[in-house]
C-alpha cells in the first residue's frame, strides 16, 4: 500500500512573502506593480513510497530538501500537484523546537509529547522509556539550561522517536550525541524500517544514507536531478559534485 504519494508537486516561493509590514503592502499599492519575482523551491516532484520504503534525499544547500520534508509533514502546502500521506508523521526537522531552557527536562518531555500528538496516557506510559533512552538520568528534573547541547539533542530525539510514527522524516539531525548514542538512534530507526514504516531522510553524509536508505532522490534547484536505487543516485550526485568547477 502506498503510504506517501507526491504527484507532480511544485512549491512556489515568491518575493511577496517578505512583505510582512503594512507599509510594504501600502507601498506596493501605490507603485506600479512590477512583475512578481517568483522562483520554485520545488518543481514537478513525483514519487511513491510503500511500507518499508526508505528514501535518502541528496543535493546541495538550497536544493529544496527541507521544503520537501515540510510538504510531507503537512507543515506547508504545494501550489501545484498533490501530497498524500497515510498515518502519523514524525518530523525530526530541527530537534528541540518546542524546548524551553527554564523548564526541567521532564516538563519539556511532557510539553513536546503533547505537541507531537500523544495523549496524556501515552505520554505518561512512555515517559520512563523516553528518559531511559536519552540517558539523561537524574538530570531529568533539572532545568534544561543546565544541560550540555548534546544532552538537549539526546532528549529531543528520544521524545520524537517515542511518537511511534508511520512515517519518519529526518533532516540532517542524526549528528546527535556521542557515538554510542548515535548507534542507538540508528538501531531504533532501522527497527522502525523493519516494522514496515516509511523513512525519508536528508543528509550530506553518504555513509549514513547507505546505512538507512534503499532508494535515493537527488534534488537540484528544486528539480529531480535523479531518482532510483540509492547507490546509483549517490554515484551520479557525487560525480556531478566532483566535476563542478570550484570557487
Amino acid at each position: 500500500m502506498d503510504i506517501v504519494v507526491l504527484e507532480n508537486v511544485s512549491k512556489l516561493y515568491s518575493r511577496r512573502r517578505s512583505r510582512q509590514f503594512l507599509r510594504t503592502y501600502l507601498a506596493h499599492w501605490f507603485r506600479r506593480p512590477r512583475a512578481v519575482e517568483a522562483f520554485y523551491a520545488l518543481r514537478g516532484i513525483s514519487f511513491r513510497l510503500r511500507e518499508g520504503d526508505s528514501l535518502g534525499v541528496v543535493g546541495p544547500n538550497g536544493a529544496g530538501k527541507t521544503t520537501l520534508l515540510s510538504l510531507i509533514a503537512g507543515l506547508t502546502f504545494p501550489e501545484e500537484g498533490a501530497v498524500h500521506v497515510r498515518g502519523r508523521v514524525a518530523a525530526l526537522l530541527e530537534l528541540g523546537s518546542g524546548f524551553h531552557p527554564d523548564l526541567t527536562g521532564a516538563e519539556n518531555v511532557m510539553v513536546n509529547a503533547a505537541l507531537l500528538g500523544l495523549s496524556r496516557q501515552e505520554a505518561r506510559a512512555r515517559f520512563d522509556e523516553i528518559v531511559e533512552f536519552s540517558g539523561i538520568g537524574d538530570f531529568i528534573d533539572e532545568p534544561l539550561r543546565t544541560y550540555s547541547s548534546g544532552m538537549v539533542m539526546r532528549l529531543a530525539f528520544s521524545v520524537a522517536m517515542n511518537v511511534r510514527p508511520d512515517v519518519l522524516l529526518i533532516d540532517e539531525v542524526l549528528a546527535v550525541g556521542d557515538q554510542e548514542f548515535q548507534a542507538k538512534c540508528l538501531e531504533r530507526i532501522l527497527r522502525l524500517k523493519r516494522a514496515g514504516k516509511v523513512l525519508v531522510c536528508t543528509s550530506h553524509d553518504p555513509e549514513l544514507l547507505r546505512r538507512l536508505c534503499d532508494r535515493g532522490l537527488w534534488l537540484d534547484h528544486g528539480r529531480m536531478a535523479g531518482a532510483g536505487r540509492l547507490e546509483e543516485v549517490l554515484e551520479a550526485y557525487q560525480a556531478s559534485v566532483a566535476a563542478a568547477p570550484r570557487g
Binding site: 516561493y13 509533514a73 507543515l75 530541527e94 527554564d102 523548564l103 516538563e107 495523549s119
Partner: protein, 254 residues
C-alpha cells in the same frame, strides 16, 4: 487530533507559560496583585483627593471592579496576538493544531485573572459588601470575557503573521479602550442615547455586570447579559473562522 489529546496539549502549554513566567519572577504571584493595587491606589487618590468627584462610596472597590476585567482583557489580547509569531520556530517545524497557541496564551493569563478576582472579592468583603447568591453569576460573566478575548486573539494572532503591525494596533486599541470602559467613571455619566450601544462592548458589559453583582447586590439586567453573550460568542466564531482560513499559510510567512 482527538478532543482529549487537544485538551492535554492545551493544558501542557498553559502550564508551560505559567511555569516560565513565575520562575523568572522572584516575587511570583505577588506581581499579579501589585499592579492592580498600584493602579487602584493612584486612581482612588486622584478621583477622591485631587479631582474630588465624590459621591461614589468605596471608590477603591468601584475602580477595582473596572481594573480587574480590563487588565485581563488588555494583557490577554496583547500576549495572544504575538503568540504565533513568538512561536515561529515551533509552527514551522512541528505539526500541531495551531489554534492552541493563542488559546493557551489567553488561558495562561486566566491564572493572573483569578488571583486578581480573589483580590477584588477580598477587598469588597472588607469594605462591607456581603456575598449574595448573585455572586454565583460572576464565573459566568468572567467566563464570557475569556471567550471574547480568545476570539479576538485568534483573529489578531493570525493577522499578525501577515502584517507585523497588528500588535501595535492592538496596543493602541487597548489605550483607547481604557477610556471606553467605565473604569473610573460610572455608567450613569454616559448620555442615555448611547447606553444601549455602549453595552455592546463586552469589556464594558463585564465591568457593569460586575458592579451590579458586587456593589449593588443584584443581578445584572438580562439585556446586558444577552449582549455580552452575543458579542463574545460571535467573536469566538469569527476567531475560529479567520484563523482556520489563514493557518495553512502560516509557515510560508513566518
Amino acid at each position: 487530533m482527538s478532543h482529549r489529546n487537544y485538551a492535554f496539549l492545551l493544558t501542557q502549554l498553559v502550564l508551560r507559560d505559567f511555569r516560565i513566567r513565575y520562575r523568572n519572577m522572584s516575587l511570583g504571584v505577588f506581581w499579579s496583585l501589585l499592579n492592580p493595587l498600584i493602579m487602584m491606589g493612584v486612581l482612588t487618590l486622584i478621583f477622591t483627593r485631587v479631582l474630588r468627584s465624590g459621591g461614589t462610596p468605596n471608590f477603591h472597590v468601584f475602580v477595582l471592579c473596572g481594573l480587574v476585567p480590563f487588565n485581563f482583557f488588555a494583557l490577554g489580547w496583547v500576549s495572544g496576538t504575538v503568540s504565533i509569531f513568538g512561536n515561529a520556530a515551533l509552527v514551522k517545524r512541528v505539526l500541531f493544531p495551531r489554534e492552541v497557541l493563542p488559546l493557551a496564551t489567553v488561558l495562561a493569563n486566566c491564572i493572573h485573572f483569578a488571583i486578581q478576582i480573589a483580590l477584588l472579592l477580598v477587598l469588597a468583603a472588607a469594605a462591607g459588601y456581603r456575598p449574595t447568591r448573585y455572586w454565583l453569576l460572576l464565573p459566568v460573566v468572567f467566563g464570557l470575557e475569556v471567550i471574547f478575548v480568545c476570539g479576538l486573539a485568534l483573529v489578531s494572532s493570525s493577522l499578525d503573521v501577515f502584517f507585523r503591525d497588528v500588535r501595535y494596533v492592538v496596543e493602541s486599541a487597548n489605550t483607547v479602550l481604557f477610556w471606553l470602559v467605565p473604569i473610573f467613571y460610572s455608567f450613569a455619566v454616559i448620555p442615555v442615547q448611547y447606553h444601549s450601544l455602549y453595552q455592546y462592548n463586552p469589556v464594558a458589559a463585564v465591568v457593569l455586570a460586575c458592579r451590579n453583582i458586587i456593589l449593588d447586590g443584584k443581578a445584572p439586567p438580562a439585556s446586558l447579559m444577552w449582549k455580552l453573550t452575543l458579542v463574545s460568542g460571535l467573536a469566538l466564531i469569527l476567531g475560529f473562522m479567520v484563523f482556520g482560513h489563514l493557518k495553512r499559510r502560516f509557515s510560508d510567512y513566518l
